[in-house]
Subunit: 287 residues, 4 copies
Amino acid sequence: MIRLKLSVDLDYEIADQTADFIFNIHAAHTQQQLVVDESLGLSQNVQGQVDTDPTSGNRYLRVRASRGPLRVSYSATIDLQHHVADPAQIAEVPIAELPTRVLGWIYPSRYCQSDRLLKLAAREFSQLPWGYSRVQAIRDWVLQRTTFMSNSSDAHTAAVDTLIEAAGVCRDFAHLMIALCRAVNIPARFATGVDYGADPALGPTDFHAYVEVYLGGRWYIFDPSGTAIPMGFVRFGTGRDAADVAFATIFGAVSSSAPHISIAAVPNADGQLIIPQHTDRALSTDA
Amino acid sequence: MIRLKLSVDLDYEIADQTADFIFNIHAAHTQQQLVVDESLGLSQNVQGQVDTDPTSGNRYLRVRASRGPLRVSYSATIDLQHHVADPAQIAEVPIAELPTRVLGWIYPSRYCQSDRLLKLAAREFSQLPWGYSRVQAIRDWVLQRTTFMSNSSDAHTAAVDTLIEAAGVCRDFAHLMIALCRAVNIPARFATGVDYGADPALGPTDFHAYVEVYLGGRWYIFDPSGTAIPMGFVRFGTGRDAADVAFATIFGAVSSSAPHISIAAVPNADGQLIIPQHTDRALSTDA
Amino acid sequence: MIRLKLSVDLDYEIADQTADFIFNIHAAHTQQQLVVDESLGLSQNVQGQVDTDPTSGNRYLRVRASRGPLRVSYSATIDLQHHVADPAQIAEVPIAELPTRVLGWIYPSRYCQSDRLLKLAAREFSQLPWGYSRVQAIRDWVLQRTTFMSNSSDAHTAAVDTLIEAAGVCRDFAHLMIALCRAVNIPARFATGVDYGADPALGPTDFHAYVEVYLGGRWYIFDPSGTAIPMGFVRFGTGRDAADVAFATIFGAVSSSAPHISIAAVPNADGQLIIPQHTDRALSTDA
Amino acid sequence: MIRLKLSVDLDYEIADQTADFIFNIHAAHTQQQLVVDESLGLSQNVQGQVDTDPTSGNRYLRVRASRGPLRVSYSATIDLQHHVADPAQIAEVPIAELPTRVLGWIYPSRYCQSDRLLKLAAREFSQLPWGYSRVQAIRDWVLQRTTFMSNSSDAHTAAVDTLIEAAGVCRDFAHLMIALCRAVNIPARFATGVDYGADPALGPTDFHAYVEVYLGGRWYIFDPSGTAIPMGFVRFGTGRDAADVAFATIFGAVSSSAPHISIAAVPNADGQLIIPQHTDRALSTDA
């Protein structure tokens, strides 16, 4: 059992009389991700409302704030009890056996236009043996063809743009990997959290986007940008793509500063300090 | 209470040894749309499995069929008990008061890239009084700027393409209207069914795509292509856009013929024959 | 006869051992634009080579420079002898009468995808009386629907993007106007120069992009972004779009600073100081 | 010296009172392509006007025809005196040494958005030795990744679409190859003609699109779709891309039938019958 301590501080300056915010910065509730404790602070005297989506476990914080500065501070202690499996034993699930609730994850979405990539994906990946290793091959294909480059993409950049322009940030790597998986009928979704273990040369700890793929009856974690240590990912949200799980969706004239984020392993309930590390095993925190 | 009798016949020729199909041609279960009776026939000796999505009420039929011809025949008797309201009394719901389950419908999707239309939508629609009439204005704007033209679009055509190329079929009108609604933070979704009352000059009765918009706490029906009589719409599915609710999603080498579809009003349980007609009132079949 | 004095200073830092540059910052040679004198300075001891394209009159400066700083300083005195006409007297030229050399200017180009705008342009502009006023209507349509916003576009932004996203800088206004003109078979081209008379609130004097349209047997000047005084435009280059007449095309690892540009009216050969000003007359400097 | 006999018959039905046509179906005049004789027939009693573009040698036929049927019949006898070279001896021309008239062919165009492919092209092709073989590698890369499929593209399909969707017809193969060449600063242009030697299984003889690349001071022929025998290509036109050299550009309401085209080798002036064939040598018909 890994225990992680997480904090996120977000600073805004609201120019309108009021502005609405929807945040997705609360740790999700899943069977393998337990929120031990958490706290939320708002610098304005306003009420935040947290709703949990029953299907995804995503938790959305809504805030209506007034003109002036707003600081949102979230901290939490999280226990991760990964499902760990041998990649060689993990099969793909044929279309005919996919649960209905999973079907939607093979359809194209705003930033993952899998419908346009059917032939390309078939040419590259249809000859490979089915299973976890095929998804790993897709992940490696994306990583090899895409250069990690800050500010090389914007809020409109989608998978086909990343494929063409061959550069992006973590969200773009995730979108392209998801689009390619769906193009060969493998359910895949976008996940958000914190970039545990990211190379400090890439800058301070930041939010992160990665991928979950449905294999062998579970959602397995993949990190196509290769910047971090998946074993340390605390999940905020999962969705079709970045459109569903923005860290903050803002309605109104608001300026923002860079977030301050920290994450670290701490001793667990048994007093053990388990440090997330790279592994060849397959990891999942959700069925 | 309107009672409609509906039949859909779909013909396929399967070239592969087996092929998987996911159909969304069953009438949805909603509070105002009751399936009185229905029957499903498959020409091959295979088992179709129908699942209902608990959130949307969409019903998905899955079939695994073998090489050779496949006919899928669905017929149903449906009672529609519309919620009818005065457009002038229907308000928009501010972001801060949107139920969490509705939030997702303001986000962009594969074919409704509302994120790219924020400025255009603000310029055209932000000065209008909020309410049903503003959504009607968006609907009229789309209808006036788009020419209905068969074969002017394909499976990749999205709202921004329709805006630029100024032509499309019902699905394209729907995508553009949805994208513009979301761009001004009005929840909107894609609905499918049968083109009740369509101008016979447009060809035989066909599937149809239209729009539902969340206003005053309910989902109201809009028909941006203006080809049919909304009061006669039997809903199959609702989704982000056409990606979610294809009439048929096919996995394998399969050729298809034009569908045969019929829909007609019949006497209801009280023996009354109520014929759907155009109305200035607002109609809804779902909360 | 207007006489203008122009200077352009460009600063680069070359990281590679050598880098190649192609500049288009020399005033073009046209019948109505005379270069009275000019000088070019290069901070490195290298030879710049200036070629004139015989068709367009564009002048391209090629420089191969070495690692380290490079300053390019160009200054010139230019006489403009505008062809001035009454807009009401200027007709469009029917396709059948267009000179062969002008035909190419009705075809789509990288940033002016007129082929996608045929229906939209027909709907908006085909009912208008033909002539200069129709082109003015296209220009006004673009100006009204597009917000001038620094950094709202990048090197890949094309006319259809500007139409959708409803924002841009001068180059984007020009591309959209050109695409719409070509979509109704009016030859139009992209012109570059200096933003004479630009509102100082928009920042220091900068390069500018505008439009020339072929009407009544000549190329007339239009300024769709409306930021400057067309009578003071010194033309550098004309081309299909920005791809043809970049101020600088750079081959190699080079960083650049903001350009320093000045332009001002000076006394002409007769000792008269004629200040360019806004006018309702039609202006042309090229046949 | 290869002598070819070519005929093209085009049939139209004009619905408007008059319609304007611009054809580019005359064999170009180049140093290595000589038009021995030719004839043009128009079924209506109208005058066709043929202009030659002095720069490209393209010849444009303009016709204004009236309501009713129009048949355009062109036939010609052409002598091809190829410049033939050893690929191993053909070098690329560095930017600094490109003639000014060739510079424009490294810029992006409507259907060849090389500006978006810089990183991808650099990753794939920048490590290869410079020269004819590098261009051959680009040609092979396109051929391997693209499936030839009739009706898989339309008039708006551009190189980046072909890259993503991995299918197209000859024009799409050409656009993608051109875009990749320009992305590594190799001048490339679009050429049109007749599909000499095409596999009869692909259908009757048709128009063709291929590529010319500037290497070693000449324009060399490449056939990225690999469907035909380049030694038998009679060139109609060259341009930035398909926008410049459509076989027919039509202004008005006109319907068309499939063209009837034939091409065959005939005895040359010396009475020799030389049949074009596949070769490993490099071919050029233009400097």
